[in-house]
Symmetry: C2
């Protein structure tokens, strides 16, 4: 049985959408580096480097590049890996669960079959209300929403 996810509206952010691509293809988009590089950052940002060791305790690295060419490496650790259903990861840990000494968020991507497509739910837990507010102000809903739209376009072979 999957661990139930409980949110605290003061600390957490949720994006839920139904999309018309299959759970299998959404899972692949999240777990194959060559696919994630294509859709993960809302244009004109890009992903310049991506390594995904998709297992509990495995490291994920995603380096985002700004339109000006500045690079922002993000390193995290997978916590839950349930094939084609759920992926949980955090930036509070590195590979092999080593603490980073800080920690901004833990995200869970839930993928459920819905009609012929997928109900997609991204839940992001923060340490504090200030972190939730800063994430919201950085444009969480638009950013994660645009990334999901790019994921769907990639799967369908539509240019963006």
């Amino acid at each position: 049985m999957l661990r139930p996810i409980t949110i605290n509206p003061k600390l957490d952010l949720v994006l839920q959408r139904d999309v018309d691509v299959s759970p299998e293809l959404v899972w692949d988009a999240w777990t194959k580096p060559e696919q994630l590089k294509i859709w993960f950052t809302p244009r004109p940002w890009t992903v310049s480097h991506c390594e995904l060791d998709v297992r509990p305790g495995g490291r994920c690295i995603t380096t985002m590049r700004s339109p000006e060419g500045q690079e922002f490496p993000n390193v995290g650790c997978y916590l839950e890996v349930v094939s084609q259903r759920r992926l949980t990861f955090t930036d509070a840990l590195l590979g092999d669960y080593r603490p980073t000494g800080k920690g901004y968020m833990t995200a869970t991507i839930e993928i459920e079959p819905r009609g012929g497509g997928t109900r997609y739910t991204a839940t992001v837990l923060h340490a504090s209300e200030a972190d939730r507010e800063s994430h919201e102000a950085m444009g969480f809903a638009q950013g994660w929403g645009t990334a999901l739209e790019q994921l769907v376009k990639m799967v369908k072979g539509v240019k963006f």
Copy 2:
């Protein structure tokens, strides 16, 4: 197969000892709050409160009380739970993997049958060399060693 544990001597601390109590009883001592309260803090410190939700993503709370009566709550999260073999937990996360916003260590307790007893290995990963040094200076080897001796005494019904 169990995840291999790799250490970095600059960042990590290890305590390994063979003890003459069974793996089953060492496991119970780590996972049952009423037992952990007895042995976990080297005397004259005590544990005044303990809650252990022993599952990946489950919260552990251990409140340590100084001889002067000051209380120090420690909250963490279980990452790996392999019955009678391995327990991994971190203070970088709270229950349900919520980040704490900081994170001092991730500890793995390995329990292996050896003769009639147990080979006990505690591996503690830190975020930085400074954190490893401070843990060493706080008396890691003596503290975790004394706690283990108390665990063995508790299992054998010897007073301490």
